[in-house]
Symmetry: C2
Subunit: 258 residues, 2 copies
């Protein structure tokens, strides 16, 4: 471990600082895949913290899949790469920026309306709930990538119609204007062929396969998790792909065997 002292001013938790040093050693190449990391006792002694604090730093790296522990042997650096391409509940804007593309949008609709049945059910809202509908064509480096039709619960973001900047990130606006932070999203991915309207906007023929996404996004608001957004979108199959990291179930589900 580096020898300069930890900051004990309480601004940054000690275990976070330790984790940062371990991460730095991994990203710098000092610690490589499969390498033995410093033991909890060693960290404890070297940095003058209790073993529980050292353990907290190491444990969180294991939780993230960056390291793994074996009783009696030690903790090792996981060989799985720390690539960022795995999809998070991030916006199109964030995703494209992360990939190095320049995102933009053309807004086709931004208006309040009654929630269609399908939308109301997905958002667990009442039958006559008001939603804000936002239809957009998404482009990366000015090339069409997909079309999205989003429905947002009006009660969660009143006035969005007036404050939304068509070129801004919707998620960023939700956060800055309404304090809504999208924490988790459930997404269903299907393949299919584009509707006539979608094909025209995407500039592809109707027999080209596309991704069809249906997504429900949830935000933490106060002390509850709230469905906020329902999106149906169509993305070009020749310009888009998905990277997933699948991990083995920890929960056997059905209640037991945890």
């Amino acid at each position: 471990m580096q020898s300069f002292p930890l900051e004990r001013d309480g601004l940054v938790p000690v275990y976070v600082q330790i984790r940062k040093r371990l991460l730095d050693r991994i990203t710098s190449g000092d610690l490589k895949a499969g390498d033995l990391m410093p033991s909890e006792q060693e960290i404890s002694g070297t940095l003058g913290v209790s073993r529980m604090t050292a353990r907290q730093a190491v444990k969180s790296l294991c939780d993230w899949g960056i390291a793994y522990s074996m009783r009696g042997k030690g903790t090792f650096v996981s060989p799985v790469k720390l690539e960022k391409n795995f999809r998070q509940a991030q916006s199109f804007t964030e995703e494209m920026n992360a990939l190095g593309f320049r995102p933009s949008s053309q807004v086709f609709a931004l208006k309040a309306e009654r929630a269609p049945t399908e939308v109301a059910e997905a958002l667990k809202a009442g039958r006559n709930s008001e939603v804000i509908r936002l239809d957009r064509l998404r482009l990366a480096n000015s090339k069409p990538m997909g079309v999205e039709c989003a429905y947002l619960l009006h009660s969660m973001c009143p006035g969005l119609v007036h404050v939304f900047d068509p070129q801004a990130s919707l998620y960023e606006t939700l956060w800055k204007q309404f304090g809504l932070s999208i924490a988790v999203a459930d997404e269903v991915v299907e393949v299919g062929l584009p509707s006539a309207a979608a094909a025209s906007l995407l500039r592809i023929s109707r027999n080209k396969p596309v991704f069809l996404f249906t997504r429900v996004s949830y935000a933490r608001r106060g002390h509850s998790m709230q469905a906020v957004e329902y999106v149906k979108s169509t993305y070009r199959g020749d310009r888009y792909k998905i990277a997933n990291r699948l991990t083995r179930a920890k929960l056997k589900l059905a209640g037991i065997s945890v």
Copy 2:
């Protein structure tokens, strides 16, 4: 909390027993989505454990997304359903069983060969590595779902060609015969049209959109994580869909801001 005493025989960690009780209260409906869970102090006092132990039980539920904590307010049951449809690194067999379908396979090839360049690179194996190739048509309730072409590192499962039962689960065989447990898989999903061969096997026309999967699976073997399997597969778009749960990035990547 239930009042009967914890078992302190060391067989099952105390915090696991506490977690089990909390989970039971959730699955039984005693604690519902959004409900306030017992506080760490309360668990500590009621069950006679230290607060750190109570915290460990609660913390792991939060790590799993089953609950979430708010400083100063308490810990609440997460409203996100505990459905199991989200994809794990599980085999076709396990996935279909989980969905209530009867899985079966037709094996078209099972033989040793030199790894094609693309395969050798993905598995980080030498240029002339020997792999076992396994081509299968996958069926659910006797209906074709997809075709898979898998390459397995021969050095990790020597003799697989002879011991593999065509109707068995490959992953189960890898575990029972070679001690290989697939822990994580990286998967890229694309859409496209089927090859002539795939279309024929799947009994669809060549202009029907399909899922194209490319997957690399890793197993823990001893103290290292090892790429074991490279799979390319084609699945019918009309019979298959993907459910993903996306969670907000914890790592900002690029090394910093953890």
